[in-house]
Structures are given as structure tokens and as C-alpha cells.
């Protein structure tokens, strides 16, 4: 009996965890948090970093909010949540600028803007304020990783098309080096649009189409 219940919660948690990737992917399906999605995804690594930073905030705020949900009067719920979220954002902001300054710089303005990312507040409202700490954590992790997944995918796509590279590894040049380490081959530029603003829109548009097809 007990076992079964446990199993059920595990299954539930697993569902909470995986839904963020496809069925309820914040970017492709829910269309939330599009600014960082478009703004920072000039490369896969940027996308991944942004995604992970958001994940951190999501987990943190979800957990804390799930912890204190019973103590907060209804009418100051939102401001309280915002404070919690903003605190985590500030933490990640400080930490990143201290330990990964280069990455921090390339993400720029978008780190503080995690505060207004609708996913974070949305999750706090819709999930964490109603569920247990543990499942909120799982939910935050799932959603966050789903977000990171989307950003990495888009970043990867733009990087491949725009600079013919993936995770900063230049594909043509890399292959040429693998074959002949001494080569002085420099690869041509990619399709520049994809590292610029329009490319972000195009990339996301067609990824959404693709994702809808896949998740069907």
C-alpha cells in the first residue's frame, strides 16, 4: 500500500519533471520567457548558461515559496514572491560575475531580467504555491531544464548556421585539424543573419514548428 503510494508520487514527480521538455516546454509550447530565448542564443554555450541560471532561480524560488507558502497573506503573495525570486536572481548575478565573468558579460542584461521571466513567477504562482517542497523542486528542475534545453537547441542551431560551429568548436576547421593537425585552414563564415536579431526569430519560428510536429 505504502509502496504503491510512493510509486505513484514517484511517477507523478517523473511526469512533472519530463513535461517541461516537450509537452509543456516553456519556450516551444507555452511561449514564455522569449526575450532571453531570442536575446542570448547566439551560441549553444550562451543558451545553456542562461538556461542553467534560470533553472537555478526556478529551483530556488520554487523551493522557498513552497516552504513559506502557508505563512504569506494572500494579498502580499505576489510581492513576496517577487522578493524571493529577485533575491535568487541577485545571487546568481553576483555569483556569475564573480566566477564566470566572461559568460556573465555575454549574457549581460538578461541575467537581472530573469526576475521578470514569466516562467519563474508563473511557476511560483501555479505550482509552488500549491505543492510540496519536493515536487516543487522537481517541477522547477524540469521546467528549468526544459528551458535550458530549448535555449541550447536554439543556440546550437544559430551557432551552426551562423558560425558553422557548435559549443565554440569550429566544425570545418575542427575536422580539418583532426585530419591534419598542422593545417592552417580557416573556415568560411556562416550565414551571418543567424547570429543577428532576425536569425533568432527565424530559428525560433521553425523550431516551434518542428517541436509541435514532434510532440504530436
Amino acid at each position: 500500500m505504502l509502496n504503491q503510494m510512493k510509486e505513484e508520487t514517484i511517477m507523478n514527480n517523473l511526469k512533472n519533471f519530463t513535461k517541461g521538455f516537450f509537452r509543456e516546454n516553456p519556450v516551444f509550447i507555452l511561449l514564455l520567457g522569449l526575450c532571453p530565448t531570442l536575446g542570448v542564443t547566439t551560441s549553444a554555450i550562451n543558451g545553456l548558461a542562461m538556461g542553467l541560471a534560470t533553472t537555478f532561480v526556478l529551483i530556488g524560488s520554487n523551493v522557498v515559496i513552497a516552504l513559506i507558502k502557508g505563512l504569506i497573506p494572500d494579498k502580499v503573495r505576489i510581492p513576496s514572491f517577487i522578493v524571493v525570486i529577485a533575491s535568487f536572481v541577485t545571487i546568481i548575478d553576483l555569483v556569475m560575475s564573480a566566477y564566470v565573468p566572461a559568460l556573465y558579460e555575454s549574457l549581460g542584461l538578461f541575467i537581472p531580467l530573469i526576475v521578470v521571466n514569466c516562467i519563474v513567477l508563473g511557476r511560483a504562482e501555479a505550482f509552488a504555491s500549491k505543492n510540496t517542497v519536493f515536487s516543487s523542486l522537481i517541477d522547477g528542475l524540469g521546467m528549468g531544464l526544459g528551458f535550458a534545453f530549448a535555449l541550447t537547441l536554439l543556440g546550437g542551431l544559430r551557432e551552426i548556421l551562423g558560425s558553422i560551429a557548435i559549443f565554440n568548436w569550429k566544425i570545418f576547421e575542427g575536422i580539418a585539424r583532426l585530419i591534419n593537425p598542422a593545417t592552417d585552414y580557416t573556415q568560411p563564415d556562416g550565414i551571418l543573419v543567424f547570429v543577428l536579431a532576425p536569425g533568432a526569430f527565424f530559428g525560433l519560428a521553425y523550431l516551434i514548428v518542428l517541436m509541435k510536429k514532434i510532440s504530436k
Partner: protein, 190 residues
């Protein structure tokens, strides 16, 4: 002249939506109809200007004074969130007609990252108060322009037989992409 250049730059060259990627959610969300787009744009213009002034003052006279600049994110968002609320209440009292026009959009603005983004940008750019206000107005006008143009486009294609897979957001994003491409023509203007 300088102010005009800031405004032109903010509207065309570094359009907040098409070049800086801020405020995309409302850009996609509230651009179904030209009428609502104008309403939202107006609300953003109003709140963005106000929020920029208030946050600039708070930053310069409180955070900076105490040496706690790092608290700006948390302070700004708190201020913006309550500002929006206050605006809503006050508007309702003093100008019901304006409230009717803007009211529904106000709550959406709290989570519009363009507002917070501009508040932070003017700090980053070390603008003084006048510059900041001009910049905020220009940016908001840019948002309004992009939103209205885009709403026109979306109203137009809504009536057309777009392939099923592309309907809605994907087609809108492609149009936004082409629009961004076209707006690149303005680069170097300022």
C-alpha cells in the same frame, strides 16, 4: 538635437523589440489587433517613463548613496510592480476613461522585461535624468511602433490561408524576423 538622435536611435536603430529583444512576450501576445496594440503601447509608454524616473531616483539617491548598487534588481522590480498597481488605482479614480483604455494592459506590464530592462539600461549607460527620460520615451515609442506595425500585419494574415503548421506564432515570428531584417537598414543612422 542630441535628444532627437537618442529618440531616433531608440525607435529605429536599436528598436527595443526588433534589435534588443526586450518585451517580446507582450509583442507576441498583445499584437493580435491594432486597437489593443495601440492601447498596450500607450500603457507601456506611460509606465516606462514613470518607472524610469522613479528607479533612476532610487538608484541615484538611495542605492548609490548606501553603496548597495547590487540591490538594484530587487529594488527596481519591487518598485515597478507596485508602481504599476498604483497607477492602476490612481487612474481608475481620476480618469476612468483612460483607465478603460489602458486598464487591461497594466497588469501585463509588470512582467514585461522591457520596463525593467530600460530601467537597468539607463543606469548601465550612466545617463542623467533627462537623458534617461528621453531614452525611455524613445524606447517606448519604438515598442509602440513595432507593436502597431506588427498588429497590422497579424490582422492581415489572420484572414489568409496560412499553412496549418505555420499558423499563429510561427508565422508571427517569421514576420518579426523579416521586420528585424528590414530594420537593420537603419543601422548607422545615429
Amino acid at each position: 538635437m542630441e535628444y532627437i538622435l537618442i529618440i531616433i536611435g531608440a525607435i529605429f536603430v536599436n528598436n527595443i523589440v526588433l534589435a534588443q529583444f526586450l518585451g517580446i512576450c507582450p509583442f507576441l501576445g498583445v499584437s493580435g489587433k491594432v486597437k489593443t496594440a495601440v492601447g498596450m503601447g500607450g500603457a507601456v509608454l506611460f509606465v516606462m517613463t514613470l518607472a524610469t524616473i522613479v528607479t533612476w531616483l532610487i538608484y541615484t539617491y538611495i542605492l548609490s548613496k548606501f553603496g548597495i548598487e547590487y540591490m538594484r534588481t530587487i529594488a527596481f522590480i519591487l518598485v515597478i510592480a507596485s508602481l504599476v498597481q498604483m497607477v492602476e488605482i490612481i487612474l481608475k479614480k481620476i480618469s476612468p476613461s483612460l483607465y478603460q483604455a489602458l486598464g487591461v494592459f497594466l497588469p501585463l506590464i509588470t512582467t514585461n522585461c522591457a520596463i525593467l530592462g530600460v530601467a537597468i539600461l539607463v543606469i548601465d549607460k550612466d545617463f542623467n535624468l533627462t537623458y534617461s527620460v528621453v531614452y525611455a520615451v524613445g524606447t517606448a515609442l519604438g515598442f509602440l511602433l513595432a507593436l502597431v506595425i506588427f498588429a497590422g500585419l497579424r490582422e492581415h494574415i489572420e484572414k489568409l490561408p496560412i499553412p496549418k503548421a505555420m499558423q499563429g506564432i510561427p508565422a508571427a515570428l517569421v514576420m518579426a524576423g523579416i521586420l528585424a531584417l528590414a530594420f537593420m537598414g537603419f543601422s548607422g543612422l545615429v
